[in-house]
Symmetry: C2
Subunit: 242 residues, 2 copies
């Protein structure tokens, strides 16, 4: 039987790997992971590096960060075929993805690629801790109490769109997590100032790495932030609290 | 220095504990966890039971599932004091909560209780894998692709409210996770049928336990479901897919 495992390795801190992810790496002979530039580093590999012992073969797979449909489809096809070649040789293969494999993850595309073009392969998915759960823990800002809502999304493209999302959230006791802040911080900061949310918003980048930053958004200067940076925005608190 | 750890133990499968949670239990002398009835079972304790060795003292804490503000506040106060008594005795204390400690978790209330009434105590929070990430992995239904949104909330109280949430989600490429389905399944089922969403909705209960159920909502009969049951509702897929 053909089997392949896709495992989430959490947001950065190696101690946030699950026992299941560690076991999947231990049992593997081939460890695969995504890279966004050929020959470049992989965050997933870095997070799990302690468990990727020298006896493992490594298989970096190239997932370009572009919008072009054909380029993406071709990259997914190549990645799926490369993995299946290893499985066909009798290797025990695990593919590692940052965070959770179902949330904004290369793991989701890969899983769908294998389902469609290699349906004979049993794909086992191991969930992981998300970056926003880790950021919430570090900053002690709960994501949702019992009757609240949580909305997670990449920063939208426009000022007006984000303004409407935040105003909607305010009326619905909804905490908002904005991912992939990156280049948009410049104008997002202005909007948070306008809405008087800048002091209650929490910014986090490279959570769990040695150079992690978690601070109030009001303490963060303008300018471009890393791709993997996020904001937690809680506009209200429950009436019944300790 | 006074220190206390609050650790998420994931949704049910013991292999979804993080290395950090296991280490926190190993290093502890007292393992605490929530119970919703006095003398009753604790899911968090059950999930982590393999790691709660006989040398550990156990401290179940009672968190009643009621709405009354005074009853809740009093329970949080007692729990916080009981934990601090242990810490003051020099015990190394870890409190375990199901899933992630920032999402619909007793851990969030406890963390705020300690922050307010025992500010001298350093509280360390260890995030965990959520039930919906585990359900998504098991059912192979990605929670969000790159440009999508994820909304997580308890099932609202009314038919019309849920209808509006689902229609809003459809227009915004937003996947919806509905938690704590419990007694509401009866009317939620009718609504999903009305909106023609019953066949694409995934139902999950007791994820990771030996009696877990994950199935299409259309295959689930009417009637009350457990408190810890959920629905994943993805109404559309990205244009660019494998």
């Amino acid at each position: 039987m053909k089997v392949l495992t896709i495992a989430g390795v959490g947001p950065g801190d190696p101690s946030l790997l699950t026992l299941a992810a560690v076991e999947a790496i231990r049992e593997s002979t081939v460890v695969s992971y995504p890279v966004s530039t050929r020959g470049g580093d992989s965050l997933a590999e870095k997070i799990a590096s302690k468990w990727i012992t020298k006896d493992k073969k490594k298989l970096p797979l190239y997932f370009p960060m572009v919008d072009d449909q054909n380029t993406l489809k071709s990259a997914w096809r190549v990645a799926g075929n490369d993995l299946m070649k290893m499985v066909d040789k009798g290797e025990r293969v695990v593919f590692l993805a940052q965070g959770d494999i179902s949330l904004f993850s290369t793991g989701s595309y890969l899983s769908k690629e294998l389902e469609k073009y290699h349906p004979e392969c049993v794909v086992k998915l191991i969930p992981g801790v998300t970056s926003f759960s880790a950021a919430a823990a570090k900053s002690k800002l709960p994501l949702a109490f019992q009757e609240e809502e949580l909305l997670v999304l990449p920063v939208p493209d426009s000022y007006d769109e984000l303004k409407s999302i935040l105003s909607d959230a305010a009326s619905k006791k909804r905490v908002v997590v904005l991912l992939k802040l990156g280049k948009k911080w410049e104008w997002v900061k202005l909007l948070l100032e306008e809405l008087d949310l800048i002091k209650i918003s929490i910014f986090a980048e490279r959570i769990g790495f040695s150079d992690q930053q978690i601070l109030r958004a009001s303490d963060l200067p303008s300018g471009t932030r890393p791709y993997f940076s996020l904001l937690l925005i809680r506009q209200s608190w429950p009436l019944t609290m300790p």
